[in-house]
Amino acid sequence: MLAYLIRRLFAAVVMLVVIILVVFGIFFLVPKWAGVDIATSFVGKQADPASVEAVRQKLGLGDPIFVQAWEFFKAIFAGRTYSGGGDVTECAAPCFGYSFRSEQAVWPVLTERFPVTLALALGAAVLWLIFGLAAGVLSALKRGTLWDRGAMVVALAGVSLPIYFTGLLSLAVFSHSLGWINAEFVPLDESFSGWFGGMILPWITLAFLYAAMYARITRATMMEILGEDYIRTARAKGLKEQVVIRKHAMRSTLTPLLTMLGMDLGALMGGAILTETTFSLPGLGQKVLDAIQNQDLPFILGVVLITSLAVLIANLVVDVLYAVIDPRVRLA
């Protein structure tokens, strides 16, 4: 088990380094090949050549690629000092550089906004796991009944309806018409109930999409597992049906769901951005959209790295859970 953990951890670190290098490649080399000058886009198109040159020197854009890569890499872990044209800027670790637009350091913006996105994602994940699993298991056990058909129709709706539609619909119904929920975002340190109230609709909206998918997968997996020989063995022992389901069938059903969860946490980012825009949450989402529109490379890069890190950690957790559930994984 320990060896398995160490191996996973090591693999995660290697993965992180690879991600950083690939991200560097995409954002610093691709514009170069595309004929876009990063220094120019940093300073602005109308800037005079001298200031462009100063920025180029300050950012080290004239250096050989591997030197730039190293600087980029080092900045993330040790910070970086930009100096050029008599003008020195200290960027503390972790340094992702400065936004082209706001000229703010990227990292503080990320740390300010990331927790909101994280809370949205985690909250939604918890919700969809609970509801998706419950609905899936119930459907599997009541196969062919009205309940099963109903749940699967809802699930189909969840999978096919776009987030901004369900989001706006829930806003219109629960917040505006019924007035049950105040959908204004309130920071957590101000009021927990206010924060919770503000998050609940976004959570549900985001979770709806995934819960639907998980319900379908859970149903299919559960049905397959219930036909397994070892479930028959469990029944042959004289176990009560609910114990058979809870202890024997559920544990096996979790394995494919975990695999999915590991992958979905990465894809979740897209859904989170849409949800945040729909509900005007001050998470990364709005900023990312802006950054993409403005080709704010350092910011996009920071977001990509921080989300990669989150996905990496999430997958590490999933891997560990996987090994806890399935003893055969520990050997591999």
């Binding site: 191996r7 090591f10 693999a11 290697v14």
Partner: protein, 463 residues
Amino acid sequence: MTIPAQSSGATLTKDAAPGETLLKVTGLQKHFPIKKGLLQRQVGAVRAVDGIDFEVRSGETLGVVGESGCGKSTMGRLITRLLEPTAGKVEFEGKDITHLGVGGMRPLRRDVQMIFQDPYSSLNPRHTIGTIVSAPFKLQGVEPEGGVKKEVQRLLSVVGLNPEHYNRYPHEFSGGQRQRIGIARALALNPKLVVADEPVSALDVSIQAQVVNLLDDLQTELGLTYVIIAHDLSVVRHVSDRIAVMYLGKIMELADRDLLYKTPMHPYTKALMSAVPIPDPARRGAKSERILLKGDVPSPIAPPSGCRFHTRCWKATQICTTTEPPLKELRPGQQVACHHPENFEDQAPQDVVLLTAAKEAAELVSEDALAESAATSAAVAAEVEAIAEANDEMTAPSTVAAPDEATAASTDDVTATSTDEPGEEAAAPATSSTDAPATSKTDTPEAPVAPEVTDEEPPAKEK
């Protein structure tokens, strides 16, 4: 080798005359590497097939038996070149095909065909029977006389299916019928060698017999050569002329069918055969005949040293742990890799102390079986010797072990004999089994011990 320009798929003429060696395998090995860690370093290998030699003669059926994991299926895939051997040589009609690529194998694919175990997964469910059986013609670019469709329908009727079912899909057929389709496909190009991997084990008993009989008829009719791989000893006995017994990637015994079943020489062969349940209630619990083997087959990743069977053998002595016995022809038509064979004189008589493991194993073997084994060994030793002396063979051992001494363990019996040539030869480290045929000529008395079997002709099937 020349490929006949087969204009007709129905031609029955064969290149190789009956009795000629069609397939020759020497020192064949297949190791599957085990890789571990991030860098996928090779940390070991599954030695699925670990140095085997045999020949398949034209027109005969070679049966290959063994338990799961003994490498018999891998061997089948190696000789049909679905896998590439790690080492050794495969010759088909004298041509080395060991490392031929896909293109190089193409002409040979029409001469060597395979029948698979599972009639459900080996046929593409989306193709009609016509498409499946005619695929070999398309792949080889052969246009049979009278057109593909006619030929396919002929093949279907040959294997006992209705030719009008040409346009049906596999799921419309039962397991036995699907296996017939698989056989029709294998026969399409009029192959010389058909390798069948567990052709009947997925079928019901009554259907098994149909397919076994069909294979039998096709051989008579088309002069096919078979290599039939199976775990069921009774099926193998029924279909084979010669039988190879495999254990952990090695051939333990390779002998003519009747010799093998009447007088098995390798203890493993004997144990294997005694384990088959006999459908006769009168023999229920006939423990006197049964040899139970201790524990499980060891891992092919780290097979035991010396003789691979020594960890479970009740006759194992020191030499078995250190020296691998070569596959030697101890009697015409019977090759055995054992230091202390059953039904024959001991090959390492100087080595008498049983291993502890062997003593434990012997507890599972009934007294009767032990006594019988001792008796037959001694009797055969005496007989061999008598013949040898009569023929003035210089290599024969010089002592006489009377059969009535046989109540003692066979190993004890031979203690009385002086260590003579056969023993020394066997004791000499014979790591490569490739030289077994060579040595066998010198130490096997040429006198016909089993006169009904001669070396040159393949034993004709009793018809």
